[in-house]
Amino acid sequence: MACPPPPPQFVLRGAQSAVNTLHFSCSNKADGPPLLFSGSLSGLVHVWNLQTRRVDATLDGHAGQSVYWVKTLGDQHLLLSQGRDLKLCLWDLAEGRNAPVDSLSLDSVGFCKGSVLSEGTQGSWLLAVPGKGMDEVRVLDMPSKTSVCTLKPAAGAKAGMPMCLELWQPACGPCPLLLVGYEDGSLMLWNVAERRALSRLSCHQEPVMSLGFDPRKAKGLSGSSEKALRVWSLDEQQNLKVCRTQELTNPGIADIAIRPDGKIVATAGWDHRIRLFGWKQLKPLAVLDYHSAAVHCVAFSDAGRPSEQLLASGSKDQRISVWSVYNQP
C-alpha cells in the first residue's frame, strides 16, 4: 500500500487574513536569507524569512485593499505588488526600506494577475496587465511605463474578461508571446510584437481561473471552476491543441504552479487540498490535505539544489503551509 502523504514541513501563521498570493525568492544566497512574499486580503504584503520562519517585514501600500499578486524582479530588492485599489506598486526593499518607489494605476477592476517578462535588456522589462476595455490586455515597457500595445480580441469573439496571463519568450523567436485565459473558458495566444492573435482554443466551459505554461516543453495546463484540468500544447505553427484532460474529485482550481525543474505540477483547490501531478503524463502523485479552507495559491521555490525545493500554499484559513515533497534527487 502507498504511504500516507507527508505533513507540511512547517506552517507560517500570522498573516491574519486570507493569503491570496505567494512568491519565493531564494536564488541569491549571498544577498540574504531565502524569503517568501505573501499578499493578503487585508492589503498587506508580508516578507517571510524562511530561516527564522518569521515575518521580516510588512509592507502596506494598497490602502487596505486586497493584494492579489506579488512578484520579485531580478533580485530580491525589487518587488511588484498588485492590489484591488487599482494600483501596481514597485518596491525597493534594499537596506530595510519599506515604502513603494513607484506605482502604476490600473484600469481593470477584475482579479486578473499581471505577468512580467524580465529577460532581455538590463533594467527594462515587459509587463502585461488587464487593460481599460473589458476584454483588453495592456502590455507596457517598464519602468518607463510606455505602452507597447493593447491586445483586444476580434469584435465577434465574445471572449469576456481576461482571467489570467502568462508572458514568455519563445526560444526560437525574438518576439515575446502572451497566453491569456478568458472568461468564456478559452485560451488565446498573442504575438506581442505583431499585436495579433496566433491561436485560440476553447478548453473550459467555465472561466479559466489559472494557467501554467512550460516553454521548454511548449506545453501548459489550465484549471477552471470545473472538475477537470486541461493539458494543452503548442505546435510549431503556434497552434494550441488539447492533449489530455485530468478529472478531479472536487471542482475548482485557484492556482497552478509548475516546479522549475519541470517535473511536478501543483494545483490549489477550492476543496482545501493541494494536488501534485507528474508533469510529463499528469500522473496523480499526491493529495496534500492540510488547510481547512479553500487554497488560494501555490508556489514553488526557485532554489538551485533539488533537495531544497519547497512548495508553499496559501489559503483562506490565513495560513501558509510549506512542504518538502519529491525532493530526493
Binding site: A2, F277, L285, A286, D289, Y326
Partner: protein
C-alpha cells in the same frame, strides 16, 4: 473310406508314433519334415484336399503332441538347434487360429514357471511379432459366418483379448513386456488396422468379408476397460484413412455398427473420450446414434444426464457431433429439451450435487451455441417456459454457485430467444465458475456442417464480457493510454502517495452529539447531513459510551430500519458498523431488542440477516481480548452473503482476511525457538471477557423460536436461506462463548437444535449444523461434554458418520469429517488426562 484321406491319416499317425516313442533325432526330424510338407510343400507332392484335411482335422492334435514332447534334452537330439527351429516353424507357419489356441491352451495348463512355459512364451512372442494375429483375424473375417464355428470364434475372441491376463497369471513378474496390456493392446490395434486394410483391398476386388469379428474384439477390449490403449491407436489411424476414401469410411462405420449390444456403451464412450474434435467423432460414428438405441442412450442420456465426470472438451465434442449432421440435429433439440427439463427441476436443484448441475449447465450452453436462429424459433415457447421455471428454483437456492448457474443460463437463453430487445441481466461477481461458463457462451462452433447454415452471431457474446467487468475494461483503456506514450516520457520516477482519502468535499458539518445523530437520521431532509451523520456515527458511539447507553435502543431501532436514501458509497457497511458499535456499547439492551426483532413481524429477510450479522460481529468484538479501540476497523463487509465473518477456528478454513496476519505471526511464533533468561514476557492483550456476562442474551432468544412460523416468515419452510444463516450464527456465537460459564447449557441446547434439523434438505443449512457441532466440540470443556452431554454426543457422532459418507454435498462431507476428527482429538485428550 477315401484312399487319400486315409493316407493322410496314416502318415500323421505314423509321425505321432515316431514322435512319442523315438529318441533318435534323425528319425524325428524326418517325421516332422514329412508333416511339414502338408503345410507348405510344393504343389505337386501334396494335393490341396490333403492339405485342407490335415489343417482341419489333424493339425491341432499334432501340435499338442509337439507341445508334450517339448523338453530341453529332446530338442538337443539334433545338433545346432535344427529340431527347435523345426518345432517353432509349425506354430509360426501353420494355420494361425489353431496354433494360437494350442499355444494359449498349453500356457494356461502349465503349472508354475518352467522351461516349457518360457519356451511357449517365447514362441508366442515371435508369433505376435510376426503379425500372426492379423493373419488369425483375417482368417476369421473370411469365413462366411459358419454356424458351427461360433464356438471357435468365441474361444478365439476370449483368448485374444485376455492374453495379457493369462500370461501374467502364469508368468507372474517374469512376463515379457510385450504382454503388458499397455503394449499388447496398441499392438492389437495395429493388427486390426492391418486386417482392415486387407478387407478394404478385398472389397475393392469384389470379395465379401465380414467385419464382425473385429468389432467383437474391439468391443471386448473396451468392456475390459482398455479403451484408451486400443482406441488410442485406432482412432488416429482410422481418421487418417477415412479422410479421403469412402470405402474406408463405410468400413469404419460398419466396424462400430457391428459391435454387439453389450459392448456398444464401452466402445461409444471410449470413442467419445478419445476423439479430439467433433468432426472426428462424426467421421467415426456416422449416424450410429440414429440407428442404434443403445448408442443413442449412451450419447443422449448417459453422457449428459447420468454422469458428470467428463471434461468440458468431451461435452463440446459430443454436442458438436450431434450438431454436425442435419439428421442428428433433431436429436440435439431433444437433448436440449431433456437438459432443460433437468436443469429446471426443483428437485434436481435441491438434491443433486453442485458439480452435476454445473455439468448440465455447461451442456445447455454448448447446445445453445450450436442452435440456429430458425431452430430456436421453433422451440421458443418451450425455452421460455423452462427458463422461467428453472431460473426461479435456481435463484431460490441458498448456495451461491447454484444461483450463478441459474443466472448465467437464463441470461444466455433469453439472449438467444430475443436476439433483439432487452435481455435478462443479473448481477453476479466474476469467479472461476462464471468465467468458465461465460467462455462457453462466447464459443463459436468450430465450423458449421454446411456453409449455408450461416450461424448467427450470438448477441450475448458481444454484450457480456464487456458488461461483466467495467473495471477490467477501464484498466485496459488505461493501458492503451499508457502504451501511446514513450517510456522516456513517463512520471514513473515518482511514487504516488496514498490518495484514498481524496473524497468529495461535503459542505455540511457533522453532528457532534449522539442525540443530534438520532434526529438527523430520522427527520433530516438534508441528504448531505444524513450521509455525514452516518459516516461519523460509529466513532461518536465509541467516543461517548455513556451518552449512547441512554438512547441505545432507539438508536438500534433507527439504524435497523434505516433505508438507503441516496446511492451512498459504503452505506451497508457504515450502518452495520454503527449497529455493531451500539451493540458492543450496550450489549444487554440492544441484543435483547435485536433478538426479539428477529422473530417479529414485518421485517424483510435482508433485515433479519442484518440482525444476525450484527450479533455475530458484536460477539466477536466483545469476546476478543483487545480493547474496543484496537479492535475497531473490521474491513469492508463482503457482498457475498455466504461469507460470514467466521471465527479463527483452526479446524475451519474460513478465516477472515483481516486476521491472516495474526495467524501467520502466531505460526511463526510457534515454530521459532527463543533462548532467554528470566520469565518470558507476554505481550498479548488481556482483560476480562466481556462476552461472558451477556452471551445468554445473544444466544438463547435466537434459538428458541425457530419452529413457530409467522405469516411472512417461515424458517422451516421457504426461508431456508435465513435458517441457514441463523444456524451459522448460533454456531459462531457458540464458538465465541469459549471459556464462558454459559458454554455448557448453550452446547446442550445447540446439540438439541441440530438434532431437530439434521435432515434438512438445504445443503446450506446442513453446513451450518455441521459447523455448529464443531464449535460445540471446540467451546465446551471436554470433561463437561462427556459428563453432561454423553447421549447427545453419541447420537451426533452416528449422524456425522452417515453425513461424511452419504451426503450429496461435498462441503457437508468435509465439514462432517472435520467434526469427526475433532471428536477423535477430544477422545485422545481425555485418555491422556485419564492415564
Amino acid at each position: 473310406m477315401d484312399p487319400e484321406v486315409s493316407e493322410v491319416r496314416h502318415t500323421v499317425q505314423e509321425a505321432l508314433h515316431t514322435l512319442s516313442s523315438s529318441r533318435d533325432g534323425i528319425q524325428i526330424s524326418k517325421a516332422l519334415t514329412s508333416m511339414k510338407l502338408y503345410l507348405n510343400g510344393v504343389q505337386n507332392t501334396v494335393l490341396p484336399r490333403e492339405r485342407e484335411e490335415f489343417c482341419k482335422i489333424y493339425f491341432s492334435t499334432f501340435l499338442r503332441c509337439l507341445v508334450n514332447k517339448l523338453s530341453p534334452d529332446w530338442l538337443e537330439l539334433l545338433p545346432t538347434g535344427q529340431l527347435e527351429e523345426l518345432w517353432d516353424s509349425f506354430f509360426l507357419e501353420g494355420p494361425a487360429d489353431q496354433a494360437f489356441l494350442v499355444l494359449m491352451e498349453s500356457i494356461i495348463v502349465i503349472a508354475g514357471p518352467s522351461y516349457r512355459l518360457m519356451k511357449m512364451a517365447q514362441v508366442l512372442t515371435k508369433f505376435l511379432k510376426m503379425g500372426r494375429l492379423a493373419e488369425l483375424m483375417w482368417e476369421m473375417c473370411q469365413q462366411q459366418v459358419p454356424r458351427g464355428s461360433s464356438l471357435l470364434q468365441e474361444t478365439l475372441l476370449n483368448k485374444v483379448v485376455c492374453l495379457p491376463d493369462h500370461l501374467s497369471n502364469q508368468m507372474k513378474e517374469q512376463s515379457p513386456s510385450l504382454f503388458f496390456p499397455q503394449n499388447y493392446f496398441p499392438l492389437l490395434g495395429e493388427e486390426i488396422i492391418q486386417v482392415l486394410q486387407r478387407i478394404s483391398d478385398s472389397l475393392r476386388g469384389g470379395l465379401d468379408c465380414s467385419i464382425s469379428f473385429l468389432s467383437q474384439i474391439v468391443a471386448k477390449v473396451c468392456i475390459h476397460g482398455r479403451q484408451k490403449e486400443i482406441l488410442g491407436v485406432l482412432v488416429p489411424r482410422l481418421m487418417e484413412l477415412t479422410q479421403a476414401d469412402c470405402i474406408w469410411q463405410r468400413l469404419s462405420w460398419r466396424l462400430v455398427e457391428s459391435v454387439p449390444d453389450r459392448g456398444m456403451e464401452a466402445v461409444v464412450s471410449g470413442l467419445i473420450q478419445e476423439a479430439s474434435e467433433a468432426k472426428v467423432l462424426s467421421q467415426l460414428l456416422g449416424n450410429l446414434v440414429m440407428k442404434n438405441k443403445k448408442a443413442q442412450f449412451v450419447v443422449t442420456r448417459k453422457f449428459l444426464l447420468l454422469q458428470y465426470r467428463y471434461p468440458t472438451e468431451v461435452l463440446q465434442n459430443l454436442l458438436g457431433y450431434l450438431a454436425l449432421d442435419s439428421h442428428r440435429r433433431t436429436l440435439l433439440l431433444q437433448v436440449l429439451k431433456d437438459l432443460l427439463e433437468t436443469w429446471g427441476s426443483s428437485s434436481v436443484v435441491k438434491h443433486s450435487p453442485v458439480e452435476q448441475q454445473f455439468y448440465v449447465s455447461k451442456a445447455i450452453l454448448i447446445c445453445l451455441s450450436h442452435l440456429k436462429e430458425s431452430e430456436i424459433e421453433h422451440i421458443r415457447e418451450e425455452l421460455l417456459t423452462s427458463m422461467m421455471g428453472g431460473v426461479q428454483c435456481h435463484i431460490e437456492s441458498s448456495l451461491p454457485q447454484v444461483r450463478h448457474l441459474g443466472m448465467i443460463v437464463a441470461e444466455t437463453i433469453s439472449s438467444r430467444i430475443h436476439s433483439e430487445g432487452p435481455h435478462l441481466k443479473f448481477q453476479y461477481e466474476e469467479n472461476k465458475l462464471t468465467r468458465e461458463l461465460l467462455s462457453l457462451v462466447n464459443l463459436k462452433p468450430a465450423d458449421a456442417s454446411s456453409p449455408a447454415s450461416g450461424f448467427p452471431a450470438v448477441p450475448a457474446s458481444v454484450i457480456q464480457p464487456s458488461s461483466l467487468s467495467p473495471e477490467g475494461k477501464a484498466h485496459r483503456e488505461e493501458e492503451k493510454d499508457k502504451g501511446s506514450a514513450s517510456d522516456l516520457d513517463s512520471d514513473d520516477e515518482f511514487v504516488p502517495y496514498d490518495m484514498s482519502r481524496d473524497k468529495e468535499l461535503k459542505s455540511t458539518k457533522a453532528p457532534v452529539y449522539i442525540r443530534d445523530c438520532l434526529e438527523a437520521l430520522t427527520t433530516s431532509e438534508d441528504v448531505e447531513r444524513w450521509e455525514v451523520t452516518l459516516q461519523v456515527l460509529e466513532s461518536l458511539i465509541k467516543r461517548s459510551p455513556a451518552a449512547t447507553k441512554e438512547v441505545s435502543k432507539e438508536l438500534a431501532k433507527v439504524l435497523l430500519h434505516l433505508e438507503e436514501k441516496t446511492s451512498m458509497e459504503g452505506f451497508e457497511m457504515l450502518r452495520q458498523r454503527a449497529l455493531v458499535a451500539v451493540t458492543v456499547t450496550d450489549p444487554i439492551q440492544v441484543a435483547q431488542y435485536l433478538t426479539s426483532q428477529f422473530y417479529a413481524m414485518n421485517y424483510s429477510l435482508r433485515q433479519r440477516m442484518d440482525i444476525l450479522d450484527v450479533l455475530v460481529l458484536a460477539a466477536q468484538e466483545l469476546s476478543s481480548p483487545k480493547s474496543l479501540e484496537e479492535a475497531k476497523i473490521l474491513g469492508p463487509s463482503r457482498p457475498d452473503i455466504q461469507l460470514l465473518p467466521a471465527p479463527q477456528t483452526p479446524s475451519l478454513n474460513k478465516v477472515p482476511s483481516e486476521d491472516w496476519r495474526k495467524i501467520v505471526e502466531e505460526r511463526i511464533k510457534n515454530k521459532t525457538r527463543r533462548f532467554g533468561k528470566g520469565p518470558s514476557r507476554t505481550d498479548t492483550a488481556n482483560g476480562p471477557n466481556k462476552f461472558n456476562s451477556v452471551v445468554g442474551y445473544f444466544f438463547f432468544p435466537l434459538i428458541e423460536r425457530f419452529d413457530r412460523p409467522l405469516v411472512t416468515f417461515d424458517l422451516l419452510g421457504d426461508d431456508s436461506l435465513v435458517l441457514g444463516r441463523l444456524v451459522h450464527t448460533v454456531g459462531i456465537l457458540m464458538y465465541f462463548a469459549i471459556n464462558t460459564t454459559a458454554a455448557v447449557p448453550m452446547g446442550k441446547t445447540l446439540l438439541e437444535f441440530v438434532w431437530a434439523l439434521r435432515f434438512h434438505t438445504d445443503a446450506y443449512v446442513r453446513q451450518g449444523l455441521l459447523y455448529s457441532i464443531s464449535s460445540v466440540l471446540w467451546s465446551v470443556p471436554a470433561e463437561r461434554l462427556l459428563g453432561d452431554l454423553t447421549d447427545e454426543l453419541l447420537e451426533t457422532r452416528s449422524w456425522l458418520a452417515v453425513v461424511a459418507e452419504n451426503d450429496p454435498d461435498e462441503d457437508c462431507r468435509k465439514l462432517a469429517m472435520q467434526a469427526l476428527l475433532l471428536m477423535e482429538k477430544l477422545k485422545d485428550k481425555l485418555q491422556i488426562v485419564g492415564s
